[in-house]
């Protein structure tokens, strides 16, 4: 029955496939190859083995970016999810004006990283000027700035997912626990949280990957200052490629490592989601 369709490969698949090969697949394999070579443009690549990887791991900027990214990601994931979940709990109590608050909290999610970075730069510098410094004075200000910015951007998004999860809990389940004399925290711990675990998993991974891959806001807010101490992984890779002559191969090797970590996170997520599906 779909035999006719089968012959239409050039119409249905070829345009997407061509774009996919040009924009993604070919550059991806070239990227792996180039990470093993020394090059300035892609045509002058000469094979050097794993040298770029050794350089990458002995590069202080890479290790410091990795450590900064890990710390930033842990703090962001925790704060975003706690605040988003709390707001979701409040906004599912049937208060009046719920829609208005939901609209306001979600709004920053649509603003792009570059614009976000400059918005928060003016706010944070405005506050810090009372202490006579700016955001680039101490890396801890940049760290805090990025955490606040990420919270501002992601809280509304995660809140919406938590709201959807909480609204799916059958009302009589909560009533039943009330009748049994459970207090607010007992109900939260024993009924609500277990029931919204799928939403928790989704939100944890969304905040995790979003924080881990952060680039635009990092570039706009601090650009790594002071002295590259607030550079995250994505920005460090970018600066290695385009800011250090002769380091393109090292930049590509760092990018491969970055990809492997991101892939690992996704595999763990897939594993957890699969297991959950079996349980239910």
């Amino acid at each position: 029955m779909h035999n006719n369709l089968k012959k239409q490969f050039p119409i249905f698949v070829l345009p997407t496939l061509a774009a996919f090969l040009i924009a993604f697949a070919i550059p991806f394999f070239m990227g792996i190859y180039l990470s093993l070579t020394e090059f300035t443009t892609i045509t002058d690549a000469s094979f050097v083995g794993v040298q770029n990887y050794m350089k990458a791991f002995s590069d202080n900027s890479f290790l410091s970016a990795l450590w900064f990214t890990v710390r930033f990601t842990v703090v962001s994931v925790i704060t975003v999810n706690i605040i988003a979940f709390t707001l979701a709990m409040i906004l599912t109590k049937g208060l009046r004006g719920t829609n208005f608050f939901r609209t306001v909290f979600f709004m920053p999610n649509l603003i792009g990283g570059i614009v976000l970075g400059y918005i928060w730069q003016i706010i944070i510098n405005g506050i810090l000027q009372y202490a006579g410094v700016t955001i680039t004075f101490d890396p801890k200000y940049g760290f805090l700035g990025l955490v606040v910015l990420t919270n501002w951007q992601l809280i509304g998004y995660m809140m919406i997912i938590y709201i959807a999860g909480i609204q799916n809990i059958p009302g009589d389940l909560i009533d039943a626990s009330r009748v049994d004399g459970a207090g607010f925290f007992d109900t939260l711990k024993n009924v609500i949280i277990p029931m919204v675990m799928p939403s928790v998993t989704i939100c944890l991974f969304l905040t995790l990957t979003n924080s881990f891959k952060l680039f635009d806001a990092n570039l706009a807010l601090t650009d790594g200052a002071p002295a590259g101490k607030t550079t995250m992984l994505a920005l460090d890779i970018y600066k290695t490629f385009y800011g250090r002559i002769g380091y393109q191969g090292v930049g590509q090797a760092k990018a491969v490592v970055f990809f492997l970590i991101a892939a690992l996170i996704s595999l763990v997520q897939l594993g957890i989601t699969r297991r959950k599906e079996v349980d239910v």
Binding site: Q8, A23, G31, I122, I123, F241, G251, A255
Partner: protein
Amino acid sequence: MNKQLRNALLYSLLILFAAAFVFPVFVVLINSFKSKLYISSEPFTLPDAESFAGLENYISGLEKTGFLASFGYSLFITVGSVIAIVLFSSMTAWYITRVRNKLTSLLYYAFVFSMIVPFQMVMFSMSKIANILYLDNPIGIILIYLGFGSGLSVFMFSGFIRSIPIEIEEAAMIDGCGSLRTFFLVVFPVMRPTAITVAILNAMWIWNDYLLPYLVIGSDYKTIPIAIQYLRGGYGSVDMGAMMAMLVLAIVPIIIFYLRGQKYIIKGVVAGAVKG
């Protein structure tokens, strides 16, 4: 605790948070009307007779960044890419879901795989290839966006197509519809909700994207994020007045779009998150 007291507490908390969410945008707005000397020294005060600068910042910002052209490029690239992505990914998704063989299942996994690869992994080779193939212009970049956007989009469309009963397609084909007519008259209309989700997710990404257009077309065609970043990069000390005004101009279209299509946007983003 009695109910009124509890509600009063919850409302105070919500209002506090709402204020914190609106405050940054408000600060940028008031500063866009202040002369640049006052922006860094007194960012949290309203403009007064002395600091009020009228539209001066907007005029100088528009001149320095060529913002109107940027708005045009951003709009053209976003709309063009979203149309291409929705059209071609849905067609591809239907084909690889309905025609089952080794090639189509390999393609499906390739599309899914591309979703987990960070952009930094391919940015260098991709921008070189785009350059060699003359794709470094607002039309060529649409092809690049189709390539990058097809992963998530094919994945989402395929998920939906599996839930469509194959019988309605077969009925159309028995009635003499060819594949293209069956797709556009029968399958695509059913996929409308997914198409809206895919369109919104891709529009948000492409409109705000900085690094990809910067590397591919940034030196000739500045989209809005590139124009804003350029304001800091190009001029030694940043003209904060122009910066504030351009930030306002960058945010306003997003807020209008959001308030008009809020229902679809929130639904689309949740659907995208749950599936992705």
